[in-house]
Symmetry: none
DNA sequence: AATTAAGCGAGACGGTACGTCTAGTCTTAAC
DNA sequence: GTTAAGACTAGACGTACCGTCTCGCTTAATT
């Protein structure tokens, strides 16, 4: 793809140390103090950096947190193991996804990001394409494999399957105080592997 | 219930005119300018009232908007008509619910409220009990009737049915730019009326 | 002139307490820390007020200090006592003026204001008309009285007399570390009461 | 004085080209944008140099401008021509001095430097010894010559003469919008050549 | 020629004050 | 006691510079 490395620019290089300190501070403070209670100033203070360094590299507090989430948590769990059946693959995907949904710090960040995506439409765009769509893509791999295998039940369309799966997960996080738990995996797998 | 009216207290009565002006201003400004771009001061200015009057009667901007939504939109559509079957009742419930989900102003308000519920946990509590739970209760009526009728398929638990239904609706509103449309009604009814 | 008082406006009145606290803080901090080392934030903090209150009533830090000087120090010493002679009047004017020029806090403020008048031309305008010109006007009273009395020597023009008097005072403050002292009074009176 | 040249050190030599570019940029920007509106970054940008190069050779922006003034303007006009009389020498000195006082760019720089001398006491020290005192020394040459010649009137002390002369000049620059003009030369010469 | 020691333009860094904005409270006079 | 108006304290915002640092390069004297 990118044969030649980026042309060497003059001037001091970006500090990887500061970058990580900022992401760590953002992640920890969100969990400790709540997203709304944390400002760019607090992130700069906690990380021992200047505000300008944050503004130079991220367009908003939410983008910092999204970057932190991607950097700190193993979000994009590769779930490409082929268990041999749609039901098996789906169960594995849901189990891995739900595990994240029980990590309190990750959940706090996800709720804040989804909230911010509603309030700041530019961030919303970035959040959808950079995060939400990637999760759908991961699920789509399973579904496509099942279809190729002839294993896919004649149920809802692919898009609706994704809407159902992620809808339940997000609704649980955002609108209830119930975790995404193991019984829910069973119910979802059962519901989605039915044929009309 | 309350036989005697509230005892006459001294002083000026609460102005119903101001109350409505505030709710109208909040509702319109949210749609025109975005929730995040509107402050209490703007609502007071637009409604021709003082900030203190708003702070006296509502605990936060989100509560004003929630009140406005309840007052301005016919949110709590009574869907108690018995169509004779679970599938029919469900279809009617979903159709009525989705209709609201296609009203741009209502959707803007709902997205803002769900966002705020994540950022302000006290409002979140009020939003869940005062709004989200009422919707679940409305759905529960159908389900209970179907069960009494012996019409309920042996599918997911009642709570999971609600999670699926509202999960899909909210996910569509919050995470995608696709409306809640009629094909989705069919897919949901089909999925939820299956037997394992 | 102003027959009717200002029409009663609605809303809270300006706080005289805050006004004085701000002027006191500005005056003291300038002497303690130096004008350049004091910011609006420090004045707000020391005075226990908000920054907005300062910005609401004064256009700049220098204007606050100018107001403080006028309020705290008896700057506009009325020197209208008629000693009977130009030399006597002049000596009295200079003596009173020089006394202020030996008050360290006042001198610190005056030096800062004259400096700021060079750096901020809008403030410079206000400083000239609101302060410097008033001092010239006070001197002009003496000169006019001497002329009416037939006591004025045929020396430099009125404007040049003022330039000489205030020039020496300001030059001593700004460009040297020598006070304005009593021998200088004698030399100035002698020089300015000569006839060509 | 310094018999031996500095010992040859290794490394790159100071760039005279950069030095001049910086002084020119400082001088021009002060006149174009005002002293307060110009920062070290702007001088570096305009001169095509790096900030570090400026900080390496000058302690402050004011020192750059002072250096620029000395380099760009013929400030230290040698006025050692003996006209044969105190009055004549004084007139020549004043005429040469006033000429500079009518150069708008020079005046802008002088006002800024005197202002900065009030706000930054370390620079103030350098400005007094490196600039103001030199001007006084130049005037002292005339006065000493007149005294030797027996031509000096028994007026104010030498120091006060200098205070009067430079006081008037600086006061006109700093506190009024009147130029130092030719009539003022006459009045000053007349005033200072009087005998008590 | 290789090495070492400065100076250079560029630009990121930690830090700080700016002037603006909004929140939520308090005060006033009218009703 | 509520109202509209508006000043109040408080504090975060995003910007602009400060003065320092790091980077890769150039230039000179020393090996």
């Amino acid at each position: 793809m990118n044969g030649q490395p980026p042309p060497p620019r003059p001037g001091r290089k970006r500090s990887e140390e500061s970058r990580l300190a900022i992401l760590t501070a953002a992640f920890e403070l969100t969990a400790e103090v709540s997203y709304a209670g944390v400002g760019i100033e607090a992130i700069a203070a906690r990380s021992g950096t200047g505000k300008q360094t944050i503004y130079r590299w991220w367009p908003s507090k939410a983008d910092v947190l999204l970057d932190a989430l991607a950097t700190k948590a193993d979000l994009y769990v590769a779930v490409d193991r082929d268990t041999g059946s749609y039901a098996g693959d789906l169960r594995e995907f849901l189990t891995a996804t739900f595990a994240l949904g029980r990590n309190a710090t990750v959940v706090a960040a996800l709720r804040a990001l989804m909230a911010q995506a509603q309030l700041d439409s530019e961030f919303g765009q970035r959040f959808r394409t950079g995060f939400l769509q990637r999760r759908r893509d991961a699920l789509a791999v399973l579904v496509d494999r099942a279809r190729a295998r002839g294993d896919l039940p004649s149920g809802p369309s692919d898009a609706t399957v994704a809407d159902l799966v992620f809808g339940v997960v997000w609704y649980r996080l955002l609108a209830t105080d119930r975790d995404v738990d193991d019984p829910l995996v069973d119910e979802l797998v059962a519901t989605l592997t039915q044929t009309y």
